[in-house]
Symmetry: D2
Subunit: 345 residues, 4 copies
């Protein structure tokens, strides 16, 4: 059994990790780290865990975490700067859900996060935890920068077309809609039920940090610098991101041809489901699962592809992908504990 710690267990990403790991056949959850709920049984903080998980939240104690094989750090950006180097040194594998270890280029991080990076050497070593692109590196990594939610949805949606050379890297637009769990459990007027329900809005237009992460990967796909318009929106549902991606086509193509490119690209990927022409993703098909659903339409009138990509933001966009990475790092079948269908209802 893999002994695991979740640090930041009582936020939404952390508790989804806890839910997945508590049912994982090869994992023993040892530590639920939480500053705010130190000393409280997890089943009091989240009533759904009563009778299922008998663990008590605890403040960070590195010597206790050291008994684990893996630590998931679901802390605010920058918060784990001392913690992660220390855990790595103690021989743990670390999967970090913050933005701190997702970048190839430290300057990009420092510009978009507006802070100095505290562990440049670890950043250099860390692997971007997107198994569909970096599976082999993940297997031997000590430190994973687990991708962001918008990022996962956008990159996996756009990558094959840009990599194919058919999609133009100019004028790429990603219009993304996210459920409210993406904002976390912290209080804020914008997340009050009465302000949030029956409401849709854009936010951080042209300024969201995930832009830089998406550009980093899509530039590799295209083999040249890609700059995108990325617009996040808040929609009145809990789970789910739907990204609508606009890419101009360098040569006339049909929807069927584009679908074929995607099916070929993802032919060995269990967690990526490419829709047949005529069908499109919906967030309810992926909610509660680690799947990415991708569908598309070639607008022959405009010579432009419209690609629609859907994930569950806290599952494939956070906790589920983290477990997928853990599975790879420990030599397990990548699907272990996360192969299930979504809830639908």
């Amino acid at each position: 059994m893999i002994k695991a710690a979740v640090l930041g267990a009582t936020g939404y990403a952390g508790i989804e990790l806890t839910r997945i790991l508590s049912a994982h056949p090869d994992v023993e959850l040892e530590i639920l780290g939480s500053q705010s709920f130190d000393g409280q049984p997890i089943s009091e903080v989240y009533g759904n865990f009563a009778h299922v998980l008998d663990l008590t939240c605890e403040k960070l104690d590195l010597s206790r975490v050291a008994m684990c094989d893996v630590a998931f750090t679901a802390l605010p950006h920058g918060a784990s700067k001392d913690v992660i180097p220390s855990l790595i040194e103690k021989g743990l594998k670390v999967i970090d859900l913050s933005g701190d270890f997702r970048y190839d280029d430290i300057e990009v991080y420092e510009k978009w996060y507006n802070q100095k990076h505290s562990s440049p050497e670890l950043l250099a070593e860390s692997v971007y935890g997107m198994p569909e692109l970096y599976r082999e590196k993940i297997k031997t990594a000590r430190l994973i920068g687990n991708p962001g939610c918008y990022t996962t949805c956008s990159i996996l949606g756009a990558y094959p077309l840009l990599a194919s050379g058919i999609g133009s890297s100019d004028n790429v637009i990603v219009d993304a809609k996210s459920g409210v769990t993406g904002a976390g459990r912290g209080l804020g007027l914008a997340y009050h039920f009465c302000e949030c329900t029956e409401n849709t809005k854009a936010y951080k237009v042209a300024a969201h940090r995930h832009t830089s992460e998406i550009e980093q990967e899509l530039s590799k796909a295209a083999g040249r610098e890609v700059m995108i318009s990325f617009t996040p929106h808040l929609i009145p549902q809990k789970r789910g991101i739907l990204a609508t991606i606009y890419i101009n086509l360098k040569k006339k193509s049909t929807t069927e041809e584009l679908v074929e490119i995607y099916k070929e690209f993802y032919k060995d990927e269990y967690f990526v489901r490419v829709k047949d022409a005529g069908k499109l993703p919906e967030t309810k098909h992926v909610a509660g699962s680690n799947f990415v659903d991708i569908g598309m339409v070639a607008d022959t009138r405009l010579n432009r592809a419209v690609i629609v990509s859907a994930i569950d933001n806290i599952y494939k966009g956070a906790a589920g992908q983290a477990v997928q990475n853990m599975n790879l790092m420990f030599g397990l079948d990548e699907k272990t504990g996360i192969a299930n269908a979504g809830f639908y209802l």
Copy 2:
């Protein structure tokens, strides 16, 4: 492996059964019966199953179902009248999710369902599938009448107090609120999103069939006839029933004393979670799980207990309880495949 058929697989109870069984370690799903979607892959009817379950819906063919060990019948009331006797004869165990096999007294059925019962002898043999009350009988049964959703929530909420002799059997009132999955997938103006969201209403006041099922069991608890006011309400959420139960107290009691009665009554039940005094159930704590959460307050001013009971109507109230029954009938640990915590998010 237990070979299983789900008849009526594309309704909401049926698809939840399919979801649970597709991940059950001891079950092989063989047949998904559906009149309406005959010939369609289940992953086209419910997109969440793509890559997970490779089965095609099929019309009822008794000879094919006969190869299974167990059949779950999730068909409208009365619809399986020829099917079930035939399956029993072929040696299958049958778990029926309709109201047809839940009654001790055929007259009660015929009065509340307003139709003649087609298999009186099977009704006599069938066992009421509520493991918390009839575990031993279920283990050896051939035919289970799987309880209704309102019923499960109400009976388990009221039983201990009435059985204790402290609760009065006069003036028992059950005010129940149900999510919309309880109404099934059939179309109807009342279930149109725009009519349903931001709306709460009572329906079938003093006339809902589940009343008779609740009274049957609570009368056994009390050792005398119990008649109840049962009021179902439709609330704007997908999953969940919350039943608020009012029972007069024959002797002065504190909340702590009542809680103690419940904790003792359910002390061996994994799926029943009795809340400590001061805490109350919420539907989000049970959604996506087989748990029943029960909390209560003794109103000492009025000498009355207010008991609040919560379940997921399509899980513990239908599909999950059916699997719990199957586990018992096949000698498995009762919790197999359904022990998980709810979604919370």
Copy 3:
């Protein structure tokens, strides 16, 4: 034109008052009091008011409020203890939306609100602002204690049957479900969208303050002390309260007979709509309006009436009723500015 001030304008009751008054043909809104948003245009705090209402929020300044004819105080309980006497003294009419001036008996207030009342003499003078019961007194009042939301729904639903002598005053149970606006705009984990949506729960069981207000009025209806079980629930919608009321019947009655009692009792009331037998209220029929919809079923099996009453909690349950009171106090047609149908959509 009546010059009006809304003190506490940026809470949910206050802003609904502002919305109604901004379109009232006989009112000129002069002052929007708000401690938190002092100096900000109301259209920045609530974007829906841009181009409609050009007022800036301001801190309380009694000398400025003194230029008004009427003040609506939508402040927390106890908060307006100095304010209201001062306004009354300056000759304003005051409609208070807190619980401070709703009680006949100061001891009841002090027990349920757990604080000393600061203006016993004003309490003695104040009139309970429920026009259906106290219209004549309201017309000449200087100070109105505007009823609570649960209260309005419950009292108007139960009053006629208790007053008729047919309903028993023993064992009266009010099971009420409220939308989230009832909790106000303050932040709290329970009101975070992700915690609130897809969730229903009971709270303050046997302990909610509105119990005392309901008992006060129903005791007058029955002509003897009435004590009730009152259970509030939070449901995932913005607006609306549905109260399901159980009253035992002292003589056998049909639904039609009960409906007749209610139609007679409310025959002159524009804002009370009694449903014909066979129909029941829904919150969406009243949302955005000042109506109270009441329907009922006589359960002849149990000799018990189940009465369902619905209002919009922040309209008839707060702001709309306050305007109805203002209309009466200033000699206007009671319906002025609030006669409209609800939104439905």
Copy 4:
């Protein structure tokens, strides 16, 4: 008083018209046309109208409609082909909410609607009912083609920038999100509450009819043919459209400069509210009102404008705009009966 008929009164656009007109100071509602509910009081079809509007639905009878001054036709496309010419002939003014009379070019209509137009001469005479663009023509028109919901939101959002010459007419992308009332009251699995809630999806990608309407008007703005990507999405709320519009900039511009262009363009428009730089629209600010809120960001990194436009799809996007047109056609103040702030809650 203007005598008005609403034909198709029981659909969602029709009932919103009915709601607005029932409170309009200069209108007397005479006829509510409905095939499906012929003979039923409107207050039974929509419970919110009880005590407010005492009209009974009736089948179409042209001779009765002839007594009116204005008819609003809220019927399916093509359905009013005989009706409208007849009403015009009888001297009524007609405001048609279908797509039949919105086009300059009959071929565009016939291509996108895939049917022959039945009244080419009336199409030639009809005026496109967008007051912000065609106010003077509307005042004297006999027949108005009332714009579509997506259309209104998109055109008013993009027009000023294209008209200014700064926005490029290449690569215009409109990504629109609509509430479910846009789909009407007809039943369909996609609109079942349980399928719709917690779900977001794109539909009719590159194929929605409103594309042609948007292109028609934006081409006039740009002074050359504009072809756009238009992607409609369904989001889990009742009211509201949010359109996110991407337009490349021909010269470097700041957000403030773009805002200035919009403020100037709409400086005389009550119903268009241009947001200051740093603020963006939300659907809850416009729900229940006739306002269009427009905000924008100049992405200087990409030299591209991202414009966000929000309306209430059944108000400004259908019923409210129809009333605005009626006001103009009858010489009333354009704001009469529709000047109110939105609900917010």
